[in-house]
């Protein structure tokens, strides 16, 4: 089946505004199917879940829980009990830091991160390490933005308690060898968390085949609404973790004298959850499943190749990171003499939305010795012509700043 990008774009009302949206690694656009799923909840059976003793609540609960089954299938998890709803990647990683980390880490323990990480996969571990007296070590990159596997192997010899790294870098686009890294880390006895914020939308994962213990990602980067994400956790690991947020619904019984928690995943879902957003996320899974994740990846690869080719023809322009085949739909670059922010402002005048800044990856910026880069990122709806408009805008900026 041909990948029909125009047909796909017709599902996204936002494109009627004329925007050239090249910031999907930040947050994606959402198709009307996702918006309709939420509106259906709000207008047809709006009610709270689990607790109700009436029909609306039952329908809402079914819709809400059906997303768990979709997530299970998307990830190839063993059980829906391994699917915990969160607000997004950041909450998922924090949940692990609090519920698993606070319980299991002690002074002197080693946590291995990489220099490619997003702040959300750094700061929770810094706080945890400071609290417990644990150590953090960082895997560096080579000149093409690839993780230094020799260094990683050396760190594994120190028997880290936890290894946490991104499947795909949001700042450089690097696709890490996550399956191999997980296998090596598991063999070294470490717990493995994969930050799937960029991986889930653009590549997907088979958590059983990869064998990671945790996989955190955000719905809003994969066509879903803001406000809902997923933490996958291996059932045995989830079961022996402490709860994180406490309150209504995550309990079995509450007595003045003490509380018995519910079973996983309910134990981690306290209070009224983002019901409509979880339902919207379900529609996003459906949409991506309809396209097929391999088609999504193929389309992005095509866009990335096209963009890298086009950018290579612009003078005084540096691209960071590996070749297209080793990268997600993300291109970070720098134009000589034009600060990324100025570039973004000028592109904005051409209706082109890119991101400029540190991409929540300051340690990586320090490593590259830049304070900011410009970043264009692509998704299911990106067209060649949009990349052309961006290139035109870059050349315009060069004329202005000449």
């Amino acid at each position: 089946m041909r990948y029909d990008v125009d047909a796909i774009r017709a599902d996204f009302p936002i494109f009627e505004t004329g925007i050239v949206y090249l910031d999907s690694a930040n947050t994606s656009q959402r198709p009307r199917q996702v918006l309709e799923a939420m509106d259906e909840y709000y207008t047809k059976f709006n009610s709270n879940i689990h607790r109700g003793a009436y029909r609306f609540s039952e329908i809402a609960t079914e819709h809400y829980e059906s997303t768990r089954a979709k997530a299970k299938r998307f990830l190839n998890a063993r059980s829906t009990r391994e699917i915990v709803y969160t607000r997004g990647t950041t909450e998922g990683i924090n949940l692990v830091a609090y519920g698993w980390g606070r319980k299991h880490l002690t002074a002197g323990d080693l946590i291995v991160l990489t220099i490619l990480e997003h702040h959300s996969n750094i700061v929770p571990w810094q706080i945890l390490a400071a609290e417990k007296g644990a150590r953090l070590e960082w895997v560096d990159i080579d000149e093409q933005g690839r993780l230094r596997q020799d260094q990683f192997a050396a760190l594994l010899e120190q028997s880290p308690k936890l290894v946490s790294f991104g499947q795909i870098s949001n700042a450089m686009g690097t696709i890490n060898p996550y399956a191999e890294m997980t296998a090596a880390a598991k063999a070294a006895g470490a717990m493995v968390l994969i930050d799937g914020a960029q991986g889930a939308p653009h590549a997907g994962i088979d958590v059983q085949a990869v064998g990671c213990d945790f996989y955190a990602f955000s719905g809003h980067k994969m066509l879903g609404p803001t406000g809902a994400g997923i933490l996958y956790g291996r059932r045995e690991v989830l079961e022996e973790m402490d709860p994180f947020l406490a309150g209504g619904d995550m309990i079995r019984t509450v007595r003045k004298e003490g509380t018995i928690y519910a079973e996983v995943p309910t134990k981690f879902e306290a209070g009224t959850m983002p019901i409509a957003q979880v339902i919207g996320l379900g529609a996003a899974f459906d949409y991506l499943e309809g396209l097929g994740m391999s088609s999504v990846r193929a389309h992005e690869l095509e866009m990335t190749e096209y963009a890298l080719e086009a950018l290579s023809e612009v003078p005084d322009l540096t691209v960071y990171g590996p070749p297209a085949s080793e990268r997600g739909g993300v291109v970070s670059f720098d134009v000589k003499g034009i600060h990324a922010h100025d570039l973004a402002t000028i592109l904005d005048r051409h209706q082109v939305a890119i991101r400029a800044g540190h991409h929540c990856a300051q340690p990586l910026m320090d490593r590259l010795d830049v304070s900011a880069t410009a970043r264009a990122s692509f998704y299911v709806y990106t067209k060649r012509e949009e990349i052309d408009v961006m290139i035109e805008g870059i050349r315009d900026a060069q004329r202005i700043f000449a």
Binding site: E40, K44, F56, E263
Partner: protein
């Protein structure tokens, strides 16, 4: 979540009163005579003197409690009693279950399925009431045969 029983479920939010039946008749159908009878006049209600097996569980969400005492000899359930409190569905279902297993062999009782329980109740059980309907079966499975955390719910 698996939806149990006959009440259809799914994406539609139709909630209208169907056809010409006024609600009251529907409800009487829903809470069938004999269910109300089992609720008001529970069979095998009480405790056994020296039970071979005894177990109790609650459904914390609505506070239903069911406990079952069994007297077993030679692999046969010679006597059974249940106690508890809660909604009509949970208590009637417990009462019906005791009728079913009394005199049965343990082996046969072991095979009782959720579907059997729904069938005994003979009414459509909506998702919210599944836990009520299956509480007594859970007591039997977890308590009498130590089936761990059998929760009465299918996983997908």
């Amino acid at each position: 979540m698996a939806v149990q029983g006959g009440r259809p479920s799914g994406g539609s939010a139709e909630h209208g009163r169907t056809g010409g039946t006024p609600p009251s008749e529907q409800d009487e159908q829903f809470y069938r005579e004999y269910i109300l009878d089992h609720y008001k006049n529970p069979r095998n209600f009480g405790r056994l003197e020296a039970p071979t097996l005894s177990h109790e569980e609650d459904n914390p969400l609505c506070g239903d409690v069911v406990g079952i005492d069994l007297k077993v000899s030679d692999g046969q359930i010679e006597d059974v009693r249940f106690h508890g409190r809660g909604c009509a569905i949970s208590q009637a279902s417990a009462s019906l279950l005791t009728e079913r297993i009394k005199g049965q062999s343990l082996d046969d009782a072991r095979k009782i399925s959720k579907e059997d329980v729904f069938e005994d109740l003979g009414i459509a059980i909506s998702p919210a009431r599944v836990k009520c309907a299956l509480l007594s079966l859970k007591v039997l499975k977890v308590g009498a045969w130590g089936l761990g955390d059998w929760s009465g719910e299918e996983e997908e």
